[in-house]
Every structure is written in structure tokens, then in C-alpha cells.
Symmetry: C2
Subunit: 152 residues, 2 copies
């Protein structure tokens, strides 16, 4: 299957890793994964400092390479919340609980454009040791590390 997934991944934490890994599992051996990576300009609206596109791309590439999936993949710049999802032929979109509403918008907009709707795979967020979501904001605040362990 051809899968699309996206994010800012600053830094790449265990929740992001679940999102990426699931995308490759869904794609299957002969599939393809397109990862949309927020540009610095698009990510600039976040409420915490963002690592540069190049740094984020490097750790994304390294994680995917080291995971050893056999599906092919490419990383493309994501300049807005929809990226290339409205005009690309693909099978399924992988999203988190947080970004699930965007997937519904994407299917609505695809339909308006006469494109077929895509399947949606929503992963539940990975929990930190305190039972709350792992998020980049919490990591930047210094509450948890990128595996969700509490920082004392």
C-alpha cells in the first residue's frame, strides 16, 4: 500500500516513532511511505522552539533506515497542514489522536476535488510514565525525555 504520514518531529519521540513504524507496517513489504516533514516556516507557529529542517530530517532518515523496513520511502517538505495529501494518489493516511480531525478534512477536500477518499489509521498517543501523552511541548518544557520518562 501507499501510505502518507506527516509531522514536525522536533524532537523525534516515542510517539512519533510509533506513527512512523505503523506507517511502514501498513505499507507492507512492497509498499511506499511518503513522510511529510513540516518546513521551518510552517513549524514556526508552534509554542516551543523547533530544531531545523535539516536536523529533523537527519534523525527521521536515521530512524527509518535503522528500522530496516523493506518498503520504499521519501521525505517531502510539508508547507501546510494538508501538504501533498489532496493531490496524491495513495491508500491510507496515518495520524495521531491529535491530528485525526485533519484527516477528516483531507477526505472532505479530496472528495470535493473528485478524488477518492483514503483509509485512515489513527494511533493512540504513547503515554509518558505519568500516564499523560508524550508530546514535543512537554519535552521542550523539560518535564519528560523523548521516551516519556519523567525528568526530576
Amino acid at each position: 500500500m501507499k501510505i502518507m504520514v506527516g509531522g514536525t518531529f522536533s524532537p523525534l519521540h516515542d510517539g512519533h516513532k510509533k506513527l512512523i513504524s505503523r506507517s511502514f507496517e501498513l505499507a507492507g513489504k512492497n509498499g511506499h511511505v511518503i513522510v511529510g516533514l513540516s518546513t521551518d516556516a510552517f513549524a514556526g507557529g508552534k509554542n516551543h522552539p523547533i530544531l531545523s529542517y535539516e536536523v529533523r530530517k537527519k534523525s527521521l532518515d536515521a530512524f527509518i533506515r535503522d528500522s530496516g523496513y523493506s518498503a520504499t520511502w521519501n521525505v517531502i517538505p510539508l508547507e501546510d497542514r494538508y501538504g501533498a495529501t489532496l493531490d496524491t494518489d495513495f491508500d491510507a493516511l496515518v495520524v495521531s489522536e491529535e491530528t485525526f480531525p485533519v484527516s477528516l478534512e483531507i477526505n472532505r477536500l479530496r472528495k470535493e476535488r473528485g478524488r477518492k477518499k483514503v483509509d485512515i489509521h489513527q494511533i493512540t498517543c504513547v503515554l509518558a510514565d505519568d500516564g499523560r501523552w508524550i508530546s514535543s511541548t512537554r519535552i521542550h518544557r523539560g518535564e519528560i525525555d523523548d521516551h516519556g520518562r519523567m525528568i526530576k
Copy 2:
């Protein structure tokens, strides 16, 4: 992964087959799929006649067996819209666009019961030749066959 999916499957049409096949693909080689099959009593509320549980189970079993997936599986009776999903440990629920709202309720109820939420995989409905969804209701009305071909 351990996957749950459910339905009435009367008759088992191409939309249902996509739902079942996707469940096994997601489960993976060493996974397990639990298929909840509506009991005759629960399915009795539908707006069209329903094949008996035994007949429906037979064609479900035959379809899964013939597909040759290596994940293990079992079919259990589904007596209401939630079935065993609230009290079973599993990873992901596979639903159609129609039943997606139920998956959100299931996660809400699981959380209330102190259980972890599950991932949700929503497939888009399979379209009949006329561009509208394949559905059991339309098949029972004699509009389309179970592959979505128009009946003249």
C-alpha cells in the same frame, strides 16, 4: 498485533471483504484477529432480512480460510454494538466509515473503565459501479450484487 473487527456480513460483500482482509494485513504474520459476528437477535433490528448466524459464519470462515492469512483468528457472537471490545486487551479496531463513530465511543468507554485506548483503522467504503457505497441494504433491494455490479 491483536485486531478486533465486527459486522453482520449478510451477505458478505466486497466492502466486508476489504474490512476482513485489512484486519489480517494489520494483524501481521504472528497476529490474531477476533471477528465479532452479529447474533440473529442483534441483527434483527436491520431494515432488511438477515441470513442466519450459521450461514453467515460459514461464508465468513470460508472467505478467511481461502485467503490464506497466517494470523490466527476466531469468530465470536456480537450481541450489541460493543461486543467484547470494552473488556478485551487488543491493539487496534478496524471499522468502516459507517461504524467509525462506534469506535470513538468504544475508546471513551474503555478509558472510563481504566483500560487503554486502542488504535483505530477506518477503511473507506467500497464503491459500487454507480459510485455509491456497496451496502447490504442495496444488495437486498436488488440494486447491486455483492461485488457492487448494477443489476438490470
